[in-house]
């Protein structure tokens, strides 16, 4: 990995250049929360002033720019009893600025599902490769447990990654296009003083995290406690609204719907992100539902995150960003469930 130092004024020039030629997505204030603090989301911006790189977290993850909530997989032009199928993939490059380590780690996890091994998705790969990603370090956010999951730092999956050193950024470069883009403005080499300042910031961030959750035991625990009443307790609170999956940076499950235009000349096959907590998630034709009680669906979501994904990829699917618990209307919070499962284990 190459490192450079970028003055903040030069960074601003780089932003202006990007904004002039490309779509730019960045954290933007969208409202004020009940506690008086600003709420953010990753949204298109037109000027550097619109973005707020000092944000704590966003309500929604940046997932929608890679797996849109709704996306046309294909369209048809109908012609009598025949049809033509049209498929197109996104080709416009865009910059996504200000992703935190958890969200870049989330993309690395999505890459494993959507872009590797079997049936790599050209829809996803197009969006991923057309995204120029500038990540940024930040002080730990409340309610996040990324450190326990090892997703509080990231060393790949981005083009540039910034650490704020006051008047300048310490920049990690992980791609050729990141290197070229960065060199459109003035950068300088890293000095010992910069490295010292960088390590100090990194240490301050690392010290700011809550104590570790014992997540290493989770895969085994999920298996052993599959029938535990812990799931009844939390399942009884779940409203089956699916919000957790919508804001989650790694939930990728979906449903496909098709529609015919009013004049019957065309149709579309549309993928919409779904949630395994929604009641009809596993209902088959004829009406049989493989997961009727809501506690079984809540359990399934946790099982996929912390057991199934580990089995396949040797790491949990969760990045510990805490968005699901912040958005949950019923106050369901992953660390609380983990503690209950652990307590259950210790009793028996």
């Amino acid at each position: 990995m190459l490192f450079k130092i970028l003055d903040k004024s030069e960074f601003r020039s780089l932003l202006v250049m990007l904004l002039e030629s490309h779509e730019v997505i960045a954290p933007r204030v969208i409202a004020t929360g009940q506690d008086g603090r600003p709420l953010h989301n990753y949204l298109p911006v037109k000027t550097p002033e619109e973005m707020d790189l000092g944000y704590e977290t966003t309500l929604n993850s940046a997932k929608t720019y890679f797996l849109p909530y709704s996306e046309n997989l294909s369209t048809w032009d109908f012609n009598e009893a025949d049809w033509t199928q049209n498929i197109s993939y996104r080709m416009q490059p865009r910059a996504i600025i200000g992703l935190h380590a958890c969200d870049i780690n989330a993309l690395l996890k999505l890459d494993k599902v959507m872009a590797r091994e079997f049936y790599p998705s050209p829809y996803y790969i197009s969006r991923r490769k057309n995204s120029f990603i500038i990540g940024i370090d930040h002080t730990p956010c409340r309610g996040a447990f990324c450190r326990s999951l090892g997703t509080d730092t990231v060393n790949r999956g981005f083009d540039l990654f910034l650490t704020d050193l006051g008047d300048r950024y310490f920049v990690a470069i992980d791609s050729d296009r990141g290197y070229s883009t960065l060199h459109r403005v003035t950068v300088r080499d890293v000095t010992d003083e910069d490295t010292g300042a960088y390590l100090e910031v990194r240490k301050r961030i690392a010290d700011g995290f809550d104590p570790d959750l014992p997540v290493k035991q989770l895969p085994n625990l999920m298996d052993i406690e599959f029938n535990a009443d812990v799931w009844d307790k939390w399942g009884a609170r779940c409203l089956s609204c699916g919000s957790c999956a919508m804001v989650c940076p790694t939930c990728y499950c979906y449903g496909v719907n098709e529609a015919v235009a009013m004049d019957f000349t065309s149709g579309a096959k549309v993928r919409q992100l779904y949630s395994c907590n929604l009641a009809d998630f596993a209902t088959v034709a004829g009406g049989h539902n493989f997961r009727p009680p809501r506690e079984s669906r809540l359990k399934y979501r946790y099982y996929h995150q912390h057991r199934g994904f580990v089995e396949t990829y040797d790491e949990p699917k969760c990045v510990g960003c805490g968005r699901c618990s912040r958005t949950c209307l019923a106050g369901i919070n992953p660390p609380d469930i983990f503690r209950d499962l652990l307590a259950k284990e210790e009793q028996s």
Binding site: S74, Q85, R177, H304
Partner: protein
């Protein structure tokens, strides 16, 4: 000045330019492109089930389409939707697909309204298959309950077409009543194949029924084969295959020599949408065919 960011066009990747073939599952391809196919003929089986003979229209696509018994395809009615359907027929004729379809949901209802000559889209084949090659040289029990004969008919066809490769063949089939019997016009044909036994049972007889009455497990009790030299394929509702497989394993048959096919909701067939997950196993990728030992270890499978 050159642009900061260059557009990336996935269609220019070498793999994308190669002819579409769903059997190359690790390759990049147009995963939502369908083979255009024609419904060549439709055979009425019962009040609710029809058999569709489907032929892929493009000759080179037809050449590329090859499957193994137990695999499924996604059938697309453009504008209505897609449904996963297991292949019911022989795999010896490339690009010709037989699908036994119950009228149950949106897509299958549309298919039941279709006339011969109508066009549908096909993606696939997807999923795992019955290990017919491994079964060669052994006795084979083919056991179906209800609509389970739809996926079972593919291995049935395979063993009759390759009869000399197998030892004793027993086909056991049970339904609730005689009106539910699928493929009744073929029983005589199967029975006449040398060394193939077909036994059929119904739970409720009607006045015309002369065969045995009861569950498929009672047919199984009468079968006399050396279970240590036998494979079984069991297709039917979970409660049925659980009973049958438990009975076979109690009699000494290894659980990893019994194969079942699971039914789940699917929206992709390619290990992405998660709708078919059992525990966190993708039925579309690691199934639909599983050995019984694996099924016993899947959370919430039965």
């Amino acid at each position: 000045m050159t642009p900061l960011l260059f557009p990336y066009d996935v269609t220019q990747e070498d793999e994308m330019k190669r002819p579409l073939d769903f059997n190359r599952r690790s390759h990049l391809m147009n995963v939502d492109r369908m083979y255009k196919a024609e419904i060549v003929s439709i055979i009425r089986l019962t009040e609710k089930e029809k058999l569709f003979h489907i032929r892929i229209i493009d000759r080179s696509e037809r050449e590329r389409f090859s499957f193994l018994p137990g695999q499924f395809v996604m059938v697309e009615v453009p504008g209505f939707g897609e449904a996963p359907i297991s292949i019911s027929g022989s795999n010896s004729q490339k690009g010709f697909i037989e699908l036994c379809i119950r009228e149950a949901g949106k897509v299958t209802t549309m298919l039941h309204r279709a006339a011969p000559g109508s066009r549908v889209g096909i993606r696939g084949p997807f999923g795992t298959y019955f290990p017919m090659e491994k079964m060669k040289g052994h006795n084979v029990l083919l056991i179906a309950g209800g609509l389970g004969l739809a996926p079972l008919r593919s291995p049935v066809t395979f063993v009759t077409e390759n009869r000399s490769d197998f030892r004793q063949i027993h086909i056991l089939y049970g339904t609730t009543d005689p009106s539910q019997l699928l493929f009744d016009y073929q029983y005589e044909q199967w029975r006449r194949v040398d060394g193939v036994n077909l036994d059929i049972i119904v739970e409720q007889a009607d006045p015309a029924w002369t065969g045995p009455v009861g569950r498929v497990t009672s047919l199984l009790e009468k079968i006399d084969v050396a279970l240590d030299e036998t494979y079984a394929i069991v297709c039917g509702p979970p409660v049925m295959f659980k009973f049958v497989c438990t009975m076979l394993s109690n009699q000494g048959m290894p659980r990893d020599r019994m194969f079942v096919s699971l039914e789940r909701r699917m929206h992709c067939g390619m290990g992405k949408c998660c709708r078919c997950n059992v525990g966190s196993t993708y039925v579309c990728m690691e199934g639909p065919v599983f050995d019984f030992w694996t099924v016993m270890n899947l959370k919430e499978a039965i």
